[in-house]
């Protein structure tokens, strides 16, 4: 993993570059050394030749001198002495030359010293012989002796020179061997390093090639992404901008210009240019809200108005955040969306909401006040009736008494209606405070409240253990009261009513009655009675306000009780369903959310 990372990183290329440079330097050094050695060797060979030649020349000068001396000795002709005299200077020059040529070799310098000794000796004897022969009475024996010694000296010179030539040869051979040994491994080394360099360069090439392909692919992807983003901006009705925090440079996308009704990139991208389009009333707000861009923090979304180039007022919404790219540069990127339609739609909805709320308030108030104020005159009618009955009932005619009874029954019914209506509107109006409540306790309260009716009807209420739920307690009590009251009211005349209440926790998915998109779990509370029941086709109707299945002569009621139950179930985000079978009984199923 780590290897791959290094392999991918630019560091890898740098290493290859450094190694390659080092190798080239190395090869350069080797080559330089090689050439230097070659130059030295060639110089040495030349030097050796020069030494040999100079030695030959030296001996030839000596020979010339001797030849000249011999000619003189034989002929006494001084003309023969010319080469002899010349040879002195030539020999000296030649010797100096030799001395210079061999200054690097101690052996040859030592040889030269000896050679010089022999040469001087030879020259002494040569001049001595000439001198002897120039005497009037010289002895032949002396001359011949001198000549012999001169010849011996000459032999020694020859020997020494041969020796020197041989020494020079040996030196040359040694040098050659040195050179060979130096040069033998150099090509291999150069070759090897070259191969290594080639391999490195090849790897670098492959790597760079791969990087280039990658770069091209990235550029392709980027181009496509850019186009997609441009298209998205056009379709989505938004533009984008970038602000380079380090350089202070702004960039606007093409659509940013279009949103303002301008041709893309038709003016310089800067906040000052942009502010020219902002609605004067919103300008200060926009400047305040945009501060975070300069402060290098995320831009909180805000909405403002602009005046487009064509003069139309549009609502824009801006939002942005700071992005740090791989190189560490920080850029503030943001979007500008044209939210005019949304703003209008939202305003419209808000307005409608307010209207609805007001309507609802008025309706509730109307309902409440109507039922409340209606009670006042009704109460008086009833009170006067009760006074009339207690005082003058006996004095009335039979039909008069009948009318009075009918008036009293109607007034009573009206009161019931008004009271139930009031109850219904209160179910809407009252504050909805949810608190945990034990449904068993609530049921006990209901039983106490209805104890008179239950006793009258000889009814029994059986219940399982009910849950503790987060509810509006007085509303749930109202619901229980109404349901139980309903069952007691619609009991069979000859059968004592039995009401059973069962409860269980259910999953919404398992319940066919529940609509989709509900909560996951509900408490299912089932109220079953053995009353007169009803036909299933009326199961939904009975929950509608003022809806009654029976004539009010058979069963008194207002048709509000079950509507209240339904409303209470709604208030709890629950559901209430009815099931009936005529002559068998009714079942009410209440679903309350389990949280």
């Amino acid at each position: 993993m780590k290897y791959i990372q290094i392999h991918k990183s630019p560091l890898f290329l740098k290493i290859i570059f450094i190694v390659s440079v080092a190798v080239i330097f190395f090869i350069g050094g080797i080559t330089f050394k090689h050439i230097t050695v070659l130059k030295k060797s060639s110089h040495f060979v030349t030097n050796s030749h020069a030494v040999n030649t100079e030695l030959e020349r030296l001996i030839s000068y000596l020979k010339d001198a001797e030849t000249g001396q011999r000619g003189y000795l034989l002929t006494k002709d001084t003309a023969f002495l010319r080469p002899y005299n010349n040879s002195k200077d030539l020999i000296r020059d030649s010797f100096n030359e030799l001395s210079k040529l061999t200054q690097n070799s101690r052996t040859q310098q030592a040889n030269l010293k000896k050679l010089l000794f022999y040469i001087n000796k030879k020259q002494n004897y040569l001049s001595k012989n000439i001198y002897i022969t120039q005497q009037k009475n010289y002895k032949e024996a002396d001359l011949s002796y001198n000549l012999t010694i001169g010849r011996q000296a000459m032999d020694s010179i020859r020997k020494k020179i041969d020796e020197m030539i041989i020494t020079q040869k040996i030196l040359l051979t040694n040098r050659q061997q040195d050179y060979d040994s130096t040069m033998s491994y150099t090509p291999l080394l150069i070759y090897l390093t070259l191969i290594v360099t080639l391999i490195l360069i090849t790897i670098a090439f492959i790597k760079m090639n791969r990087d280039l392909v990658l770069l091209r692919n990235t550029i392709n992807t980027l181009t496509v992404a850019n186009e997609a983003s441009n298209l998205a901006e056009i379709v989505g009705g938004f533009g984008s901008w970038q602000y380079n925090i380090d350089s202070g440079q702004f960039t606007f996308s093409d659509n940013e210009y279009r949103l303002l009704g301008c041709a893309p990139q038709s003016f310089e991208a800067s906040s000052e240019e942009f502010y020219k389009f902002v609605h004067p009333e919103d300008l200060q707000y926009v400047i305040e809200s945009s501060k975070s861009v300069q402060e290098k923090t995320n831009l909180n979304p805000f909405t403002y108005r602009v005046i487009r180039k064509d003069g139309e007022i549009r609502y824009f919404r801006a939002s942005g955040r700071v992005v740090t790219v791989a190189s560490g540069e920080r850029t503030h990127i943001g979007t500008t969306s044209d939210v005019t339609e949304q703003v209008y739609a939202q305003n419209y909805i808000e307005e409608r909401n307010r209207e609805l709320e007001n309507n609802n308030k008025e309706l509730t108030a109307f309902n409440y006040i109507a039922s409340h104020d209606l009670q006042e005159p009704l109460r008086k009618i009833e009170t006067f009736l009760s006074r009339l009955i207690s005082k003058d009932y006996e004095n009335m005619s039979k039909s008069g008494q009948q009318y009075i009874n009918s008036i009293q029954a109607s007034a009573k019914r009206m009161r019931m209606l008004i009271e139930d209506l009031l109850q219904f509107s209160r179910t809407n109006k009252a504050e909805k405070v949810f608190e945990p409540a034990d449904l068993n306790e609530i049921l006990d309260h209901v039983k106490q409240e209805l104890v008179q009716v239950i006793d009258d009807k000889k009814g029994t209420i059986e219940s399982q253990n009910l849950p503790i739920l987060n509810v509006i307690p007085f509303q749930i009590q109202q619901l229980f009261t109404n349901l139980i009251n309903n069952s007691l009211k619609y009991s069979k005349t000859d059968v004592p009513p039995i009401i059973t209440i069962k409860s269980k926790l259910v999953s919404a998915l398992d319940e066919e009655l529940l609509p989709h998109n509900t909560l996951a779990h509900y408490h299912k509370i089932i109220f079953t009675d053995n009353g007169i029941g009803f036909e299933q086709e009326y199961a939904k109707k009975i929950f509608i306000l003022f809806n009654r299945l029976h004539n009010k002569n058979e069963y008194d009621g207002t048709g509000i009780g079950l509507a209240i139950c339904k409303k209470i179930a709604d208030n709890h985000k629950g559901y209430l369903f009815a099931n009936g079978e005529l002559g068998v009984g009714a079942t009410f199923t209440l679903f309350l959310p389990a949280v």
């Binding site: 409340h372 009170t383 009760s386 006074r387 209160r426």
Partner: protein
């Protein structure tokens, strides 16, 4: 005035209700002295007059012109001379808001005007014969509303 009589005051703007009220006490044949006032201003003028005989029980209608029942209640409870009077709220409404408000402000009992004359007599006789000291010490929101 005989001290054996129980002094009762009623402030109610409704003429019929005042009539039912006085009729009921007449028929009850209790030793009561009933005074009625047409509105809150009249009532308070009477109570604040130093020579007035203060009632033992005061019945207050809530919805009255000029000065309503709650305003009277507040004024009475803030007045040291008057705040010993037992106050019965006497209203058509039995809304939670009214019950709550009057209870909090120190009323002693809340009566919903009944729609039967016999019921009215029964309630009034019960209220007048209540041992107020005992009632007030055990007063809570549940027994504040008078039920038959």
């Amino acid at each position: 005035m005989n001290t054996d009589f129980i002094n009762i005051c009623l402030a109610d703007d409704d003429e019929d209700d005042r009539l039912f009220f006085t009729d009921a006490f007449e028929e009850l044949k209790m030793k009561t002295n009933v005074m009625t006032f047409n509105d809150g201003v009249e009532l308070m003028d009477y109570l604040n007059d130093g020579d007035s005989i203060l009632p033992n029980v005061l019945f207050l209608d809530l919805n009255m012109p000029k000065k309503n029942g709650v305003e009277c209640l507040l004024e009475i409870k803030q007045n040291e001379k008057l705040n010993d009077i037992a106050i019965a709220i006497y209203s058509t409404s039995s809304s939670e808001e009214h019950i709550e408000e009057t209870f909090v402000n120190g009323a002693n009992i809340y009566i919903k005007k009944p729609s039967d004359f016999e019921d009215l007599k029964k309630i009034l006789s019960e209220v007048v014969t209540i041992n107020w000291q005992y009632h007030t010490s055990g007063l809570n929101k549940d027994n504040f509303l008078m039920r038959l």
